[in-house]
């Protein structure tokens, strides 16, 4: 019997493979100086908690930091007058597969100094925990919920750590992880059953429901005065 070449569908059927360990690794810090002013300031202030830096995607300076110190470093970057990264543009995650650490990426911009900076924290798969920065930047609130939803990173101290994109009672795991099967873990019939059992109102938190104000009271019906 001749071997049939694999079609795309077969590959899907076979399920997720462990990613190739020889695949290009996650970008790593490089030696040398950076001309980004925040890099030197970070290194002199936090020492070993700043693990290195690299210029990526043209002119984007990336700094690797230790996750235990992330809240301290980010608070300083926001409040120090020479830094003032007052805008958190994005918080996201990257899974490089093969059991490599998941990286949480912070993309910040200083509207005062007109500078952008990207921070990355490596989190080993067995300790996917990092401090939440939702208290520093409100924009981080939903972004961290998204990283939690899709990668399973727990943000300690987050005010409202719920799923945001997947249904609130999604039980199949965290879909953007490399070990997640493309079609989910349940059968289609089970997925349909679970989907229809959802309570649509529960997509909204109490805060969102409160935007419309308290529920309207229908005024009590008053009988018209009898004439004459």
């Amino acid at each position: 019997m001749t071997e049939r070449p694999l079609s795309g569908l077969d590959a899907v059927e076979r399920g997720p493979l462990p990613s190739d360990p020889s695949a290009p690794a996650a970008p790593a810090p490089v030696e040398g100086q950076s001309d980004h002013p925040s890099v030197a300031a970070l290194a002199s202030r936090f020492g070993p908690a700043v693990q290195g830096h690299r210029l990526m995607a043209g002119d984007q300076t990336v700094v690797w930091i230790a996750p235990e110190k992330s809240l301290e470093i980010l608070t300083w970057l926001k409040d120090d007058p020479a830094q003032q990264y007052d805008m958190m543009s994005d918080v996201t995650g990257v899974d490089y597969g093969s059991g490599r650490p998941i990286e949480v990426v912070y993309q910040m911009f200083s509207t005062v100094h007109k500078r952008a900076l990207r921070l990355r924290c490596r989190l080993p798969l067995e300790a996917l925990e990092i401090d939440s920065v939702a208290g520093l930047w409100h924009s981080a609130n939903w972004l961290e919920r998204e990283v939690y939803d899709l990668f399973g990173v727990t943000f300690k101290g987050h005010p409202d750590l719920r799923r945001i994109l997947m249904p609130f009672d999604y039980a199949e795991g965290h879909p953007l992880r490399k070990d997640f099967p493309l079609r989910g873990r349940f059968s289609r019939a089970e997925q349909t059953r679970r989907a229809l059992a959802q309570d649509v109102e529960r997509f909204y938190g109490s805060q969102e429901l409160a935007h419309g104000g308290p529920p309207q009271q229908v005024p009590a019906r008053t009988e018209p005065e009898a004439e004459g």
Binding site: L9, G173, L182, L196
Partner: protein, 223 residues
């Protein structure tokens, strides 16, 4: 097209020009079948409930706009309230998170109602054979007409709606409950049962292979 043209027997009461049956010299009454009149009314005043979730909805809007002008077929107004709608046009992909919403909108539409599944995504999941996508809305609501394409052109949608009109023409009031009644006990349940879901989505390589992939549910199902 006046009622006179549509009468069984070809509207023989027609006089020169215009609507003969109400013109001078013609009788002021006509006889017909109640099925015929009701179906004539129903099929020429179908109000669509647009459930446009993705790119297909753009073509649905084009079909409603002046170049193609869905209003010519009695779809005078897109009814954004399901309570005033007759035909649900599901245009675009439906993720599982949206499935109960689609189901509720269908349940809110009054009888009689029909459903058009527009495009590859709504009909079968299309290229989105992934964890988050409903593999064909027929697993959730009953579908009358599938319009193929990615996206279907407005002509395609109009043809699909004309097929619904044709279907209505064939219906009979006396068999209404046979065709249309829904069991209230089934509301909020999948329209298709488990075997049907596997059968409907299997030919697209979807559901039957699922078991091979299925692992045990993960522990981290906290939410």
């Amino acid at each position: 097209m006046g009622l006179g043209d549509l009468l069984p027997g070809g509207g023989t009461q027609k006089s020169e020009g215009g609507l003969g049956m109400f013109g001078a010299g013609s009788p002021t009454f006509l006889t017909t079948k109640i099925d015929f009149v009701i179906n004539w009314g129903r099929r020429n005043s179908l109000w669509p409930m647009p459930f446009g979730t993705a790119c297909c909805a753009i073509e649905m809007m084009a079909a409603a706009a002046s170049n193609f002008d869905l209003a010519r077929f009695g779809m005078e107004r897109m009814s954004f309230s399901p309570r005033q709608a007759d035909v649900l046009i599901c245009a675009g992909r439906v993720p599982y998170k949206l499935a109960p919403v689609l189901r509720r909108i269908w349940d809110q539409m009054p009888q009689p109602k029909w459903c058009v599944s527009m495009g590859a995504c709504a009909s079968s999941g299309g290229v989105f054979d992934v964890y988050s996508m409903v593999q064909g809305i027929d697993t959730i609501v009953p579908v009358d007409v599938y319009v193929p394409g990615c996206p279907p052109r407005p002509e395609g949608l109009i043809y699909g709606l004309m097929m619904i009109q044709e279907k209505i023409r064939e219906e009979s009031l006396s068999r209404h409950f046979e065709h249309r009644a829904e069991d209230p006990a089934l509301v909020a349940l999948a329209k298709a049962n488990e075997a049907e879901i596997v059968g409907l989505t299997g030919p697209f390589g979807n559901s039957t292979q699922q078991e091979k992939l299925s692992g045990a549910p993960t522990d981290d199902n906290s939410a």
